[in-house]
């Protein structure tokens, strides 16, 4: 319940924050929403010497949707900001669907999208969504900014590839080809539970065909599972019962679930398969309505 002692700074700019990180020589941690970090401090699973609070830095809480449909989400956008953005709902339904399933409504007012991706929890909803969407993180360090694709960003459970003095300042979701459709399903026994399994689906549909199929899984392996290869059976054709079934099976096979008190590995694969099928069927039915 009681964190160990640490120092604290509330910089007014990213550069100032990077300065503190550099001076901290690896013993300093960034505090944004705090909904993952503060619980760890309270249980003393983490005991940094210094916390650098980003919340006083202006201009970090934007959601920018460009004309081409690409999206930039600033470091201080809260989960609830994603949940409430009607533009995002239209532009990237995968994000909207996942937003209301992250933690619980009160945590969502404070926790941040970017912070959650950085936390690299293998059961994290946003890492799965970002992977399915083919997004990347923009990191800023003393020497400037760089882009890090999701597959290079998450190294392992709770490990990201940021240097000790880099800060993730935004998440970028690339422009879709055609229409962006998708959804997110999560099996949790109650609100706020860890996922037994969850599935993020992000498709681009153009001229009736699936031109890009991003699928990623959480809770069914030591890290977010990128099932894009398995999902490739969908690409180049319209969604059909056959392709949906094939995709569901292939994605389930790509999962790496472990048996634990939430279920056997077979069960978790079954959930993955069911969710992929349900999401794709839902998309197919609504596409038909639209067409």
């Amino acid at each position: 319940m009681y964190p160990s002692r640490f120092g604290y700074e509330a910089p007014k700019s990213i550069e100032e924050a990077i300065g503190y990180l550099t001076a901290g020589a690896g013993e300093a941690k960034i505090l944004a929403g705090g909904q993952s970090l503060v619980p760890m401090l309270k249980l003393r699973f983490a005991a940094p010497e210094m916390l650098i609070d980003l919340n006083s830095i202006p201009g970090l809480d934007y959601i920018n949707i460009a004309a081409d449909g690409s999206i930039r989400i600033g470091a201080l956008v809260r989960h609830e900001g994603i949940e409430r953005s009607e533009e995002l709902q239209a532009a990237q339904p995968t994000l909207a669907a996942a937003a209301s399933l992250v933690a619980d409504p009160i945590v969502r007012t404070r926790g941040t999208f970017v912070g959650s991706v950085c936390h690299a929890d293998p059961q994290g909803d946003w890492a799965a969504a970002m992977t399915a969407l083919g997004g990347h993180i923009v990191a800023q360090g003393p020497k400037g900014t760089r882009e890090i694709a999701m597959k290079d960003f998450v190294l392992g459970p709770f490990q990201n590839s940021l240097a000790f003095n880099e800060i993730a300042i935004e998440a970028v979701i690339p422009a879709p080809q055609g229409t962006a459709v998708g959804s997110y399903l999560k099996l949790e026994r109650r609100v706020g539970d860890f996922a037994t399994a969850s599935v993020a689906v992000a498709l681009n549909i153009q001229g009736g065909n699936v031109v890009r199929a991003g699928i990623a899984l959480a809770g069914v392996g030591g890290r977010t599972i990128d099932a894009t290869e398995a999902a490739s059976v969908l690409v180049g054709k319209p969604l059909s019962a056959e392709t949906i079934q094939a995709a569901a099976e292939a994605v389930a096979a790509a999962a790496e679930p472990r048996t634990d008190h939430r279920g056997s590995s077979d069960y978790k694969r079954q959930i993955v398969k069911t969710f992929v099928s349900r999401i794709l069927t839902g998309i197919a039915n609504s596409e038909q309505k639209v067409a």
């Binding site: 604290y8 705090g34 909904q35 503060v38 009160i106 706020g192």
Partner: protein, 175 residues
């Protein structure tokens, strides 16, 4: 200005760095010297002697510590007191005016929305945040908005009724 615990125990050893923060608590600015690691919930309870905000778990699940931070509900056990510097915090003690209960408080009493009372402050503040944005919520919307607040006693059904009661009264008062 007061430092934490000085009324109960000696002040902490002076080599422990503290920060001076000013927080608007229920409309009143309060300035305190706090260690960075002090949780907002503990500042409220021990530092400012406002024990209406409760702590009920170690893992940010239960929501008993819910307060309104710049009008939005947060779990005060998962925010550092230093982070509230320059912001406003509303606790259960700020719900009633000098002469009147808030309709949410009345609703919880009328509809038996509490038994032991421990989850109640957090529950009411989460409900207040909901009603400020959605003055006419459905039962499902209420249950969803309160799904970050655990209750062991009531079974939630009367909590929902309490919020519906309050919503109706608040709509009538604003007409």
């Amino acid at each position: 200005m007061s430092s934490l615990y000085d009324e109960v125990t000696p002040t902490p050893p002076s080599d422990v760095p503290t920060r001076r923060v000013t927080i608007d608590v229920n409309g009143e600015p309060r300035t305190v010297d706090v260690e960075p690691r002090l949780l907002l919930a503990h500042l409220l309870r021990q530092g400012l002697k406002m024990t209406g905000t409760h702590t009920g778990c170690d893992t940010t699940n239960c929501g008993a510590c819910t307060v309104l931070f710049d009008g939005r509900p947060i779990k005060s056990c998962t925010m550092l007191a230093v982070q509230a510097d320059g912001h406003s915090v509303e606790t259960v003690e700020g719900l009633a005016s000098a002469s009147e209960l808030h309709p949410i408080q009345e609703g919880f009493k009328q509809e038996h929305g509490l038994h032991c009372g421990f989850c109640t402050p957090g529950m009411m503040l989460a409900a207040k945040a909901l009603l400020e944005e959605n003055p006419n919520p459905t039962e499902d919307e209420i249950r969803w908005a309160l799904s970050g607040n655990l209750c062991r006693c009531t079974g939630y059904q009367n909590i929902v009724k309490s919020v519906l009661w309050a919503a109706e009264k608040m709509r009538a008062e604003s007409n």
